[in-house]
């Protein structure tokens, strides 16, 4: 049985829509005065972070606490123990603490998978970003944000409940090579029926990207003007990638910004309804200008709030039940 969330590809379309629907209900509870729910009382969620990520960790921490789970933050950064042993020993420690779920961020691609399948822990494993591989909850919160904006329901706060993203055009721009966000988004958005276009300099495209379920181009203006996207997602570009020591993937900030940055003039190419997204943290003036980041189209701040709701939904779905599959006909008579 599948009781982990390791990859955006773990979810089929119906499951992904169900996660977004639960997120919608969670978001509704977060607009109340009292935001805390008793749902996961007595459960323990461990945030196991081998890499710094204040945003993702606090988002998971807020999600778990809003559901009344106990949260243990385990920062394993800087540990001198050798890699394999370190992960195993840490997992055994967490198991001894009674972790019901382990939210893991690791610099090595595949670490969450190892943690989930090595038999070191009985808890559910949630991938909070592994290497250049995947970041499924980021993809879920992005899909949730897109659905809220582009699939508004008639009235009420339940934007788009039950709907997928069939036919929505999403353009993802930037350092695809190093981005787990891009990979998870391509997988999940494709599952939900969206059409994804990746735009990146040739040096920042991964080997084998042509086999991904998306279009790939190196011309941003063409993708924006001709592609008429419904959502444009800018990826973070690290300045270190420019320097020779960091790989020398692009020659200068100015050149990157000119060809792949989203600024005022490119904003004008977009259709009226198009939203501008960024997983954060932004490099203002590099991949995104202040005009774009602060424009009314920008959902960047909203994405942070949506992240908590989506992570609440994931924790709820993994931890609230007894872990079994329901019988096809459970007995009736609401008590």
């Amino acid at each position: 049985m599948n009781r982990h969330l390791l990859s955006a590809a773990d979810l089929d379309r119906a499951e992904a829509v169900a996660v977004l629907d639960v997120s919608e209900e969670m978001a509704a509870t977060q607009r109340r005065e009292i935001k805390k729910l008793p749902t996961l009382r007595g459960r323990t969620v461990v945030n196991l972070f081998f890499e710094d990520s204040t945003r993702t960790r606090t988002s998971f921490e807020a999600a778990a606490k809003r559901l009344s789970a106990d949260v243990i933050n385990f920062s394993a950064k800087g540990s001198s123990v050798s890699k394999g042993e370190s992960l195993k020993d840490t997992a055994l420690t967490l198991e001894a603490m009674g972790a019901d779920a382990v939210v893991v961020r690791h610099w090595a691609s595949g670490a969450p998978h190892r943690l989930a399948h090595a038999g070191w822990t009985r808890g559910s494993v949630v991938n909070a970003g592994d290497g250049t591989h995947e970041h499924p909850t980021q993809a879920l919160l992005d899909a949730y944000t897109i659905r809220r904006h582009l699939r508004p329901a008639g009235g009420g706060h339940h934007g788009g409940t039950g709907q997928d993203l069939d036919g929505v055009r999403v353009t993802i721009v930037g350092d695809v090579l190093h981005s787990r966000v891009a990979r998870s988004n391509v997988l999940l958005l494709h599952t939900l029926g969206a059409h994804v276009t990746l735009v990146a300099p040739p040096t920042l495209l991964p080997v084998g990207v042509e086999s991904w379920p998306c279009r790939v181009t190196t011309d941003l203006d063409d993708a924006l003007a001709g592609g008429a996207p419904d959502a444009v997602m800018m990826l973070r570009v690290q300045r270190e990638r420019m320097e020779a020591a960091g790989g020398g993937f692009f020659p200068s900030v100015r050149e990157y910004t000119r060809r792949y940055g989203l600024g005022r003039s490119r904003l004008a190419l977009l259709p009226e309804h198009t939203i501008v997204m960024h997983p954060g943290p932004m490099n203002r003036g590099l991949e995104i200008s202040a005009d774009a980041a602060d424009s009314p189209r920008s959902t960047i701040v909203e994405q942070v709030g949506n992240g908590v709701a989506v992570r609440m939904a994931v924790l709820y779905l993994l931890l609230a039940g007894d872990g079994t599959t329901p019988t096809p006909s459970s007995p009736g008579g609401t008590p």
């Binding site: 599948n2 979810l11 169900a18 599959t325 096809p328 609401t334």
Partner: protein, 207 residues
Amino acid sequence: MSAARDAARDPAREQDAGPVVGGRVLLEGADIHRALTRIAHELLEANKGPADLLLLGIPTRGVPLAQRLAQRLLEVEGTAVPTGSLDVTMYRDDLRRHPTRTLLPTELPPGGLDDKVVVLVDDVLYSGRTIRAALDALSDLGRPRAVRLAVLVDRGHRELPIRADHVGKNLPTSAAERVSVLLAERDGRDAVVLSPPPPAGTAGGRA
């Protein structure tokens, strides 16, 4: 996440217990209509009019029942009583004993619950645990002046010190039997059906 899959495949599995076969119809549509009309009058009498009343249906079938009650109140008093829904799933005490349950919308009328007389509306009162969860949920949403409970059917077997203020019909049942409330809004017809215990091997009564 298999829980997501279950929720996706069967969004209302708790409420939709499959086709009702071999059951005995205890209340017909007209009986349900009369019971709701009487409850509406009782509500008005107990509250000395519709002032401050607020109806909250517990999904799924409590919601259309609350709407029907509101309609009756409108017909009797000419006052639109605010109506909403209250999903209690995240407050249940038995979440860990069942597969993950689907969340359903909680929609409060504008103005909130503070100082209102909130009437919880559900289809069947059984163990009382749903109502216990509803009371917890209410206390997170506001501070009503009073909380009342109206149910279409009280089938007994309470496990908590909870009783209904307004009951459509008291139905003595055995705990093994199944009571199904069918409403036109969801099921195409109105009826309350008592089914015999399911054959051995299938799940027993939900507490």
